[in-house]
Symmetry: C2
Subunit: 295 residues, 2 copies
């Protein structure tokens, strides 16, 4: 089996359909890499592409997408609700099959250097590819957004200098490139219309306020139903099943149950197999016990 890497580049255009189509086409123009999903958000004025394929092919496709976005997007004109610093804003490499996190870090560094040299775009390395602890977190790199970062660099603040490329922002802004585990966006709907309960549960379970380490959560109201909306940043260490049962327990505290769950985007099969193994108490499940392993 050949190595498979995923990337989920975000670029700063969610309204002009011709621009979106041209950038997606660039991501889809390399043999061995394939766009399997893309979605545009007009309010955020931002698009998210999911790309899957062989490591070298995905890297080449990402380069072409970044070049095309730099050609068609002018950050000086860009307005949108989502924080952003560049035409191509963030590019994670995600190990999926037969590839290590360390190899994804190497891919991220290679691409970040190439983008800076060939396109003149400043690049920052984040998460597992970060060169400084404070740059593991995307929000720290993106602080102030395009306008704020541009001003700080112009003022000579060397603390904000990129890992590669010029310490100044042009119309394409800067791009953050890194390596991270697969991210899972998973929401639990509660059997109540009380948004406050979802907010209280989210606060109880998320990392930022004392909860599970690789979990982000917020409580929202969706079509009259309270929802705990979550991002799993590393499902191998903070798994879906454990968090689901934690939410169930917290909800019971308010006399409420879980109505249903939903995925936004994609989930690695292993996250579901891990949940089955945990719930069924199949402690010694071996990969080769699954029929499909033998194909």
């Amino acid at each position: 089996m050949s190595a498979i890497v995923e990337s989920v580049p975000n670029f700063s255009e969610g309204r002009r359909s011709d621009v979106i189509a041209a950038i997606v086409a660039a991501y889809n123009s390399v043999e061995g890499a394939r766009v399997i999903d893309h979605s545009a958000d007009a309010d955020h004025n931002r698009s998210v592409v999911t790309l899957l394929g062989e490591p070298a092919a995905v890297s080449e496709a990402l380069f072409r997408g970044i070049a095309k976005a730099a050609e068609l997007i002018d950050m000086r004109q860009h307005r949108g609700e989502h924080p952003r610093i560049g035409a191509t804003d963030v590019v994670p490499f995600v190990p999926i099959r037969d590839i290590s996190m360390a190899e994804c870090v190497a891919l991220a560094r290679g691409l970040a250097e190439r983008v800076s040299v060939e396109l003149g775009i400043p690049t920052y390395l984040y998460y597992h590819a970060a060169t400084r602890p404070d740059r593991e977190v995307l929000a720290n790199i993106r602080r102030g957004e395009y306008e704020g970062l541009q001003a700080e660099l112009a003022a000579g603040n060397s603390d904000r200098a990129p890992d590669f490329g010029p310490a100044q922002l042009g119309p394409a802004g800067a791009t953050v490139i890194g390596a991270r585990p697969p991210l899972i966006a998973y929401n639990l709907y509660l059997s109540t219309g009380d948004e406050g309960i979802a907010k209280a549960i989210a606060k109880a379970i998320r990392h930022s306020s004392g909860g599970m380490r690789y979990l982000q959560a917020m409580g929202v109201l969706v079509e009259g139903r309270a929802q705990v909306s979550m991002n799993f940043l590393d499902y191998t260490r903070t798994p879906l099943h454990r968090v689901t049962e934690l939410v169930r327990r917290e909800a019971a505290r308010y006399g409420v149950g879980i109505h249903s769950a939903e995925l936004i985007g994609l989930i690695p099969q292993q996250a579901l197999l891990d949940a089955a193994q945990w719930y069924l108490q199949l402690d010694n499940l071996r990969p080769e016990s699954v029929l499909e392993w033998h194909f």
Copy 2:
């Protein structure tokens, strides 16, 4: 993706290792089909082979295995604890990927006819391939075993006549061929050494005594721990997760919990994904939401 079928032929030799090896080699001699597991039981004097591959290749491999068993096994000499009527006793076709049950029924009928014509062995069709309702159940076809069936056929009992081939048993006996869903052998260990509790739970949940339709179960004691030992005959209709929770509820009735679960042999991945979906309440999970679907 190409169609994949599984077969789990049982043959009546579990002691003579040279005979077992020769028959397994015959099953493994066709390009496009592969023996992924085989086990011999000396007390049962019987072996079980798990074969996986393309439909035509698996059919050819099964024919060669049946021919080799007929050459090396003499049912007049065979003794063993497990019920049996033939050198190759039973041969199910199991749909795994991109193949329907109806196509597996057609494969079963084709092989049954070929075995009778080319090898002169009487063949019976069972389960989904059965030509009569009473032959859906293997035990009905195997009633009286080799010796009893031979006597009934010799006495001219047309009710016992095979679907294909002569109405008399030679040294190779008869072979039962059919199509069935994947079978899952799944055991739950209880947090007690009281075998009686496992037996009571098994009786409560199994089809034969009023329980779930596609479930066989018995209570046994394994290394001092009570175990509910189960066969799932159709996991799509009687699923693992529902039965696990039923066992958990029955066990709680006796003040006992589930200690752990174990698989014997193989499990189709879908059975685990179904369990994850049920426990996590992912009601609208689509196949294409799973990353690996896109490979």
